[in-house]
């Protein structure tokens, strides 16, 4: 796919005539809107409770309250929830990447009866709202005794993700046929061809798939909220509800610190893997 072509090669015209200065002013105003909430979150995390509640709103804290971050880590068992989140996300990401690569390979390189209709079903499940199946799945799993275990994520991981299958299929379909012909002449079966020839070539897609699926689970709220109890749940659930004072009122400054710590891994992953991320978003969206 030629999706990552350099954008800056040609200067295009906007439909409306804008001077260069106006463009930068507009961009800066937009940047405030898009980045502002991050800044406000960090500022809130550095204020005392009184400073946060001050009317009219204070922009800057008098003195940075780093203690809020300490409270965020100790008021709830933050490390334990972080471990839960990390374990669940890593496990799901590893499983779903392997299974999706295999299914993607099957759809890209192998022939089988009923391949086209199956692929159409696959594409249409991409359109199926996850929440529609999640609630019955929850009821089903609770009857099967799978609630409060991590088995649902194992199953979801093994079942592959239509979105990632699509990503892998697109990548594998573009690899020239001569490569596998040579391996076939050498007597390799499809399993070996997949593992020895195709997987080593697909490092960028494997990384993308791993990072995407990791961040899905890291950011998911509704599945852990439904399926896991207080001890087994993830950071995303823990930081929403349990930063409270003895009266049961939420402490916004500590919650802000907790949220900042929680969002940091997702942002760091994104910044490190930016090119991969954007490319995969594009790949998923351009060729519906």
């Amino acid at each position: 796919m030629h999706v990552n072509r350099q954008a800056t090669a040609t200067a295009r015209r906007t439909p409306v005539r804008l001077s260069a200065g106006a463009v930068y002013v507009l961009l800066m105003a937009l940047a405030v809107v898009f980045v502002g909430p991050f800044v406000w979150l960090v500022l809130a995390a550095l204020k005392t409770r009184d400073e946060w509640a001050a009317i009219p709103a204070r922009i800057l804290p008098h003195k940075a309250q780093w203690g809020n971050f300490v409270s965020a880590l100790t008021d709830i068992n933050f490390p334990a929830y972080a471990v839960n989140s990390f374990f669940l996300s890593t496990m799901y990401a590893v499983l779903v990447t392997i299974s999706s690569a295999a299914v993607g390979f099957g759809f890209a390189r192998l022939r089988g009866r009923g391949k086209r209709p199956l692929f159409l079903v696959l594409l249409s499940t991409m359109m199926l709202p996850q929440i529609l199946t999640l609630l019955p799945t929850y009821v089903l799993f609770s009857r099967l005794g799978l609630v409060n275990t991590y088995w649902p994520w194992v199953l979801w991981g093994l079942a592959a993700s239509p979105y990632l299958i699509f990503l892998f299929r697109q990548f594998f379909a573009a690899i020239p046929r001569e490569l596998e012909d040579a391996a076939i002449i050498d007597g390799c079966g499809w399993g070996r061809i997949f593992v020895r020839v195709f997987l080593p070539l697909s490092r960028p897609v494997l990384i993308t798939s791993f990072l995407l699926s990791f961040t899905w689970t890291w950011g998911d709220y509704i599945s852990p909220a439904l399926l896991l109890d207080v001890d087994h749940t993830t950071l995303s659930v823990a930081i929403t509800a349990w930063y409270t004072d003895p009266h049961g009122n939420a402490i916004p400054t500590v919650q802000a610190a907790g949220a900042a710590l929680y969002v940091l891994p997702a942002l760091l992953i994104f910044l490190f893997a930016q090119r991969y991320f954007i490319r995969s978003v594009v790949a998923s969206g351009v060729k519906g």
């Binding site: 999706v3 072509r5 295009r12 906007t14 439909p15 005539r17 463009v23 937009l30 898009f34 502002g36 991050f38 406000w40 979150l41 709103a57 922009i59 299974s99 999706s100 299914v103 099957g106 192998l110 022939r111 089988g112 199956l118 079903v121 359109m127 709202p129 996850q130 929440i131 529609l132 199946t133 609630l135 019955p136 009821v139 089903l140 199953l155 093994l158 079942a159 592959a160 379909a173 079966g189 499809w190 961040t215 950011g219 709220y221 659930v237 930081i239 929403t240 916004p252 919650q255 802000a256 949220a259 929680y262 969002v263 942002l267 930016q274 978003v281 594009v282 969206g285 351009v286 519906g288």
Partner: protein
């Protein structure tokens, strides 16, 4: 065994994980939901019984369900065009020679990787009536404090939250714009067309399949919004679902409440199935309409 038969069998082995997963984790739950929707099951009590289509009959007369469905359609009709247009606008703005173009793109894309929980916490801090920065800024221009998280403004708060994440769409639009042949636009300008006309009659038709894709996925994503209203509600706990303001009480919120506040699993499942059909109908409708306005240069079915 012949090579063809071997390949055929290999194909099924390779796609088996997804096929099994689809059957067990999508088809079975949906079928199960249909079964449950014909009962008065409450999630725990063993004393449930078959009620036939009574849940569906009740749903038909349920004012709250209709209201939440209409609200969801209205929300989608407002949020999707705004975010698609916004994504396109940003893409057009960034599809030019700019200083630090990568940095601008990163800044606008960043929100779309923020987990929904963190997003909700951030915006609750920004939109807080007394201590939020938005009201503080409005105060500067003389506007009195707005209660963003309660009716009727909660609707707009949710909209702001949705639009904030349009960076993902922007990136896709950007890629599409870069696929538009520059010569075509330049030729039209040489012929004396103004920029808006070139954009409207050349650029937009060429990228219309991508716009279409954005609309379809946007509609489906917006239809199923549930976590955002739950988390934006004034209370901080998931148990506080009851306090979701009416204006953000979308259909899935209603379903969620039937399941977990009223423990009406049978009725909730009926609601899910009706919604499934509604989404299907909308998708088909949009698909049909696409023939009128989506411009395909080549047969998109041609695949390798």
């Amino acid at each position: 065994m012949s090579w063809t038969r071997y390949s055929n069998r290999s194909f099924y082995l390779f796609v088996a994980p997804w096929v099994l997963g689809f059957v067990l984790l999508t088809a079975v739950p949906l079928g199960y939901a249909f079964g449950v929707s014909l009962t008065n099951f409450d999630g725990s009590s063993p004393r449930w019984r078959w009620v036939g289509f009574r849940n569906y009959g009740e749903l038909f007369h349920d004012q709250d369900a209709w209201a939440s469905l209409l609200r969801t359609v209205a929300y989608t009709a407002i949020a999707v065009p705004l975010s698609v247009a916004g994504a396109l606008g940003l893409a057009v703005l960034l599809n030019r020679r700019l200083k630090g173009v990568g940095l601008w793109r990163t800044m606008f894309f960043l929100p779309s990787v923020v987990p929904v929980v963190a997003m909700a916490i951030m915006w609750k801090l920004v939109l807080n009536r007394d201590a939020g920065i938005l009201n503080a800024l409005l105060h500067v221009v003389g506007i009195r404090p707005v209660s963003w998280l309660v009716d009727p403004m909660a609707f707009y708060a949710l909209l702001i939250l949705t639009l904030w994440g349009l960076g993902g769409g922007m990136v896709i639009m950007l890629a599409a714009l870069q696929g538009v042949p520059a010569e075509l636009e330049e030729a039209a300008i040489v012929d004396g067309a103004n920029r808006w006309r070139v954009f409207r009659h050349i650029t937009v038709p060429i990228i219309s399949p991508v716009i279409f894709f954005q609309v379809v996925t946007g509609v489906i994503a917006t239809f199923q919004i549930v976590v955002q209203p739950l988390l934006l509600a004034e209370t901080n706990s998931i148990a506080g679902v009851g306090q979701v303001p009416q204006s953000t009480h979308l259909y899935m919120v209603q379903v969620y409440q039937e399941f977990f506040t009223s423990n009406r699993f049978g009725y909730g499942s009926a609601m899910l199935w009706v919604f499934f059909l509604v989404i299907l109908a909308f998708t088909v409708l949009i698909q049909r309409s696409s023939r009128l306005w989506v411009h395909y240069e080549v047969d998109t079915d041609a695949e390798g």
